[in-house]
Amino acid sequence: MGSPGPRGVAGPATLARPDPMLPRPFLVRRTRQDTRDTYTLQLEPADGEPLSWAPGQFIMLHAFGVGEAPISITGDHTRTDRLEHTIRNVGSVTAALIAAAPGTVLGVRGPFGTGWEVATGQGADVVFVAGGIGLAPLRPAILELIGRRADYDRVLLLYGARTPEDILFGDDLRSWAERHGIVVEVTVDNGQHAWRGRVGLVTQLITMAGFDAVPALALVCGPEVMMRYAAQALSGRGVQPERLRLSMERNMKCGVGLCGHCQLRELFLCVDGPVLGYDRLAPLMARAEL
């Protein structure tokens, strides 16, 4: 979590790097199409030097000649020899990124920001709540937890997608449920096409889920409106605000707290976030025009 106290323009992790504004060259290793508009890129450092990062952090991914976008990291954080990013095609930069053929050089700045700190949930129930492509930034935390599964009590993944065709990481969802004892509950907004599963809002899953709320750790990622309602539902169940963490995204640009594009009142989300506790976010999320 980001420190609530005074801070400089860049955190210690940023200062340790030679120049956080300089992209490192990474090569596209492979690209996998996940859904109609979403792809997962696997990258490896062109110079072979590993890149350490924490689940929940993001990088700035640069398509040379097109532009740069903040992209969360999707893969296993123990694999410092590669990066995985799940990217939805929503604009010119993301279109260029997902079109990059194997061997293409992309620029990587970062990692930036705060992580999920899933280990703070050891000994308690852990609830992941994901909406849409918000499952991608949660995946590294789930993988980290699975690496020490016995240290956690009940683990639930409550996932809302737009349609059955938009459900991400289907193989992972099955494996997490069948091999790692994670309760995976999925709902979709639109249940056409012979879908026999749940249709409804992801917050409904929170209401019905079986977990011990007071000591639980809850990690939430998705569109901000969805997170606001999910946080209210989790808080209503009794999850403590400081153990309820959300990943906020607000137009990150520089990644080092200089440009102010990602400012949320007193916070620069690229350094204070993206992962923040509901104890800090609740008053900000409740205010209009922030």
Binding site: R88, V90, G91, G131, G132, I133, G134, G160, A161, R162, D166, T187, D189, N190, G191, Q192, A194, W195, R196, G197, R198, V199, G200, L201, T203, Q204, M208, G222, P223, E224, V225, M226, Y229
Partner: protein
């Protein structure tokens, strides 16, 4: 399986009702069981019941010229149906079992009559169903935003 008399007082929807009211509700209720594909109710038919789902899942569907579209699902523990309390007391959508389904069916004709003669009971039940309606409307409105489909997330 618990009897209806045992089940109702423990259900959150009925929490706080006095024993006489719970007994009255239980007296208007029967267990029903459906197989996948069977309908609990059909659009346009008289809404003479509401249901508490004990196990299984139901799809709230709207008919289209092609396949039906699922608007919502409900499952174990959820209460389904408020058309019984809203004139002209006709179902607005279809309710089709997605799985094997067990539910408690409440005789709404009987309950409507009781609510007329016992306004406090009517008010109490209305408050409970308004919360159910509010939850469903909130869900529908947020999903109308198509949060996962636009430039979000």
């Amino acid at each position: 399986m618990q009897t209806i008399e045992q089940y109702l007082p423990e259900h959150p929807f009925f929490h706080g009702l006095d024993a006489a009211t719970t007994d009255l509700l239980a007296g208007c209720a029967v267990n029903v069981h459906l197989r996948p594909g069977e309908f609990l109710f059909r659009e346009g038919e008289p809404a003479d019941h509401f249901y508490v789902l004990r196990s299984g899942r139901i799809a709230i569907e709207v008919r289209t010229p092609g396949r039906p579209i699922v608007l919502d699902t409900a499952e174990d523990g959820e209460v389904v149906g408020w058309s019984w309390i809203v004139p002209p007391y006709l179902w607005t959508f279809d309710g089709c079992a997605s799985t094997d389904l067990s539910a408690v069916a409440f005789d709404a004709v009987c309950l409507r009559a009781k609510c007329l003669t016992h306004p406090l009971l009517g008010y109490d039940l209305m408050m409970r169903f308004v919360q159910l309606m509010n939850k469903r409307v909130l869900s529908a409105r947020i999903r109308l935003l198509d949060l996962y489909g636009g430039g979000h997330g």
